[in-house]
Every structure is written in C-alpha cells, then in structure tokens.
C-alpha cells in the first residue's frame, strides 16, 4: 500500500491527538471489572462420599460434560455435600484434597506383574492377570486344603493363601469378598479394620 505524504500526516496527527488526549487522563479502560467465571456453572453434580475416615462425609463430585454419550466425564472438583447431616458441607484437609487423590499420578491404570527375581513391572492384560492368579490359587488350594483334621472332623479349610481386605471398599465389595473367600474355604483372612 502506498502511503501518500498527506495520509501519513493524517495518521500521525490522529495518533498524536489520540495519545495526547490519553495523556490528559482519558483512560481507554472503563471502571469495570469481572470476576473469574464460576467454574461449575454447567458441570454435572454427583453425590458421593469421602473414602477416608469413618465420618463418611458427603461430597459433591463435579464432572465435565452432561453425561451425554460422547462427552467423557472428567472429575474437576469435589466439595462437601451440604445436605449430609454429619458434615453439612464441610470437609477436612484430606477430603478437601480428594481431587488430587482421584488424579494422583500414582494411580494404577492396568494390571502389571513383577516376575520372580525381576526388577521391573510388566504390563499384562486383565485376562492374563486373572488366569495366572486363579491358576496360582487353584494349585495352592488343591494342594493344601485340609478336608479333615486329625480327629477326622470335616474342617475344609484352606490356610496357605491369605487375604487382607480393605476397609475402604464398599459394603457390597466386602460382602462379596467374604462370600467368595469363605466359599473357597479360606480362613486366613483379615482386614485393615483390625489395625
């Protein structure tokens, strides 16, 4: 674009007068401010419970998306559930930091095995993991299940494989676990609850 001498002067003049008006204090920014937008405005809210101590505080979990098929729900915020009669919306520093537990870099993402003597983990499929573990369990059970004790009483116990259960799993998981273990004949089972 060719700028004529005349245009050039015009531009300069406008610029100059603009800046000199500004210099007089006619600030171009009006006296107005906006707060950061509320990040939960259209997030999906789900009622859940803090998994830490036994106060079992109610929490509200906020996820992205509206649960529509193609929008992957991602947890973006967790805060106290004001309806819960015990915590009434409050949380402790652990509960208030739950998001970082959910998002911990140390979350496990897939089954892994560390072979005997190896010094590293190896990713395996769920099918492999379950088959290999079940094979171990069956072998041990078949070899060591005691059907009758010395007095000839039927005891049907399997005490060479132990099980320690979480006290953070839900009631349903706990019940199913004990049902399965007792069904297998396990007696060496205990939970975190003891300690």
């Amino acid at each position: 674009m060719q700028v004529t001498r005349r245009q050039f002067f015009k531009v300069c003049g406008a610029g100059l007068s603009g800046s000199s008006i500004a210099l007089m204090g006619f600030s171009p920014a009006p006296a107005l401010a906006e707060v950061r937008s509320f990040k939960l405005a259209r997030a999906t809210e789900t009622r859940n419970m803090c998994p830490y101590c036994s106060v079992s505080c109610g929490v509200l979990i906020y996820t992205t998306g509206d649960k529509s098929k193609n929008a992957k729900a991602d947890i973006i915020h967790i805060e106290g559930d004001p309806d819960n009669p015990v915590n009434r919306g409050t949380l402790c520093p652990k509960g208030a930091g739950l998001l970082d537990m959910v998002k911990s870099p140390n979350r496990l993402k897939w089954p892994e095995v560390r072979e005997p003597g190896s010094s590293e983990w190896k990713r395996i499929s769920w099918d492999d993991a379950i088959s290999r573990i079940a094979t171990h369990m069956k072998k041990d059970r078949d070899a060591n299940l005691v059907e009758k004790n010395a007095e000839g009483v039927t005891v049907n116990r399997w005490n060479t494989t132990g099980f320690l259960a979480s006290s953070a799993a839900g009631n349903e998981a706990g019940y199913l676990t004990v049902k399965i273990l007792r069904g297998l004949g396990a007696v060496a089972l205990d939970t975190q609850a003891r300690i």
Partner: protein
Amino acid sequence: MIRNPKDLKRYTAQERANHWVVGISFILLAISGLAFFHPAFWPMTQLFGGGVWARILHPFLGVLMALSFLSIFFRFRSLNVMTPTDREWLSRAKEMVDGNDHDMPEQGKYNGGQKMMFWALALCMLLLMVSGVLLWRAYFGFPVELVRFGAVIHAATAAVMIALIMVHIYAAIWVKGTVRAMWYGTVTRAWAKQHHRAWYRQVTGK
C-alpha cells in the same frame, strides 16, 4: 542553518552521543515512571507495549541512564566546579531570567546555573539509582519498610528531576542558538561570546 567553518566546537561527537543516550533514556524513564506514578499518565505505557513491558523496561533503562550519566559526570565534572564568579552569577540570576544578560559576569563553558543543574542532576541520579534498586522486585528483595521509603524517595526525586530537566530543555530552547550545540557540536562565535565569554576567549584566544 548556515554552517560556518568558524563556528566554535562545543561538544565532541562522543559527548553528544553520550548526552543523547542519557536524554533518550531519561525521556523513556520519565514517561514510564510517570505512568506508574499517576493514572493520568498510564496510557503512556502503550508506548512500551503495555504496562508489563513498561515495568520490565523501566529499571533496565534506569541502569542505562545511570551508567551513561556516570560517563557524562566524569567528562564534565571538572568543568562544573563552582567558582566565586559562578556564585556572583547565581546571585544575579534574576537579571538573567528577565533577559538582561548583558551585564552578567563573564562565564566559562558553563554558567553558575548550569553547574547547579549538573550537581542537582547528579544527586537526583544517585538517589534514583539507590531507591530504584530497592524497588526492583524482579531481582532484589528488601524489607518492606525500606522499599516503602525507597518508593517515596524515588517518586519525589523523579519529580524533582523531571522539573529540572524541563528547566534544562527550556533553557536550551529559550537561549537561541543553544540546541545546535547538542545536534552539531558547534555554536556560533557570537553565541559563545554573548553567553560564555570567558570560554570564548579561552577557545579563540581573543
């Protein structure tokens, strides 16, 4: 402007360059500093690419100005030693301001006013430098009480210095034939003879 080979050399090229480095950095510092000082001047930060750039550049410009001023200071320090004549000149400065400079005492390269200006600017520069460092958070962290003190000193000194420079510039504009000394380095003999007769005699030997 007709250049006359008989014009007198007042400033060398290095001196002029030095002066303008100080001058330009001062102007940039003044406008950015004023922008921080009072909202009325804030839009001037646009000249620097916005407030953040103005904040980043201002102290570096300050360092530049301080260093180049230091060079000026050492160049001209000996020429600015006050003499009894200067004091007499100063005591009659009102006549000068009124434009009656014919009967003023004969002046060397610089008159009493200029020398006062020199020393006042040097003092301001020192104060600005020290207080400026106190405020330079990007690289320094001083106790907040000291920083507050520094802020007041910096602002007050800067205001004084801007006023002094305004006087400096006005004096150059008012006294016709002066500005060219900093453009071309020369002044007319008439100018020298009128304003700095002792210097005139010294350089011309007349």
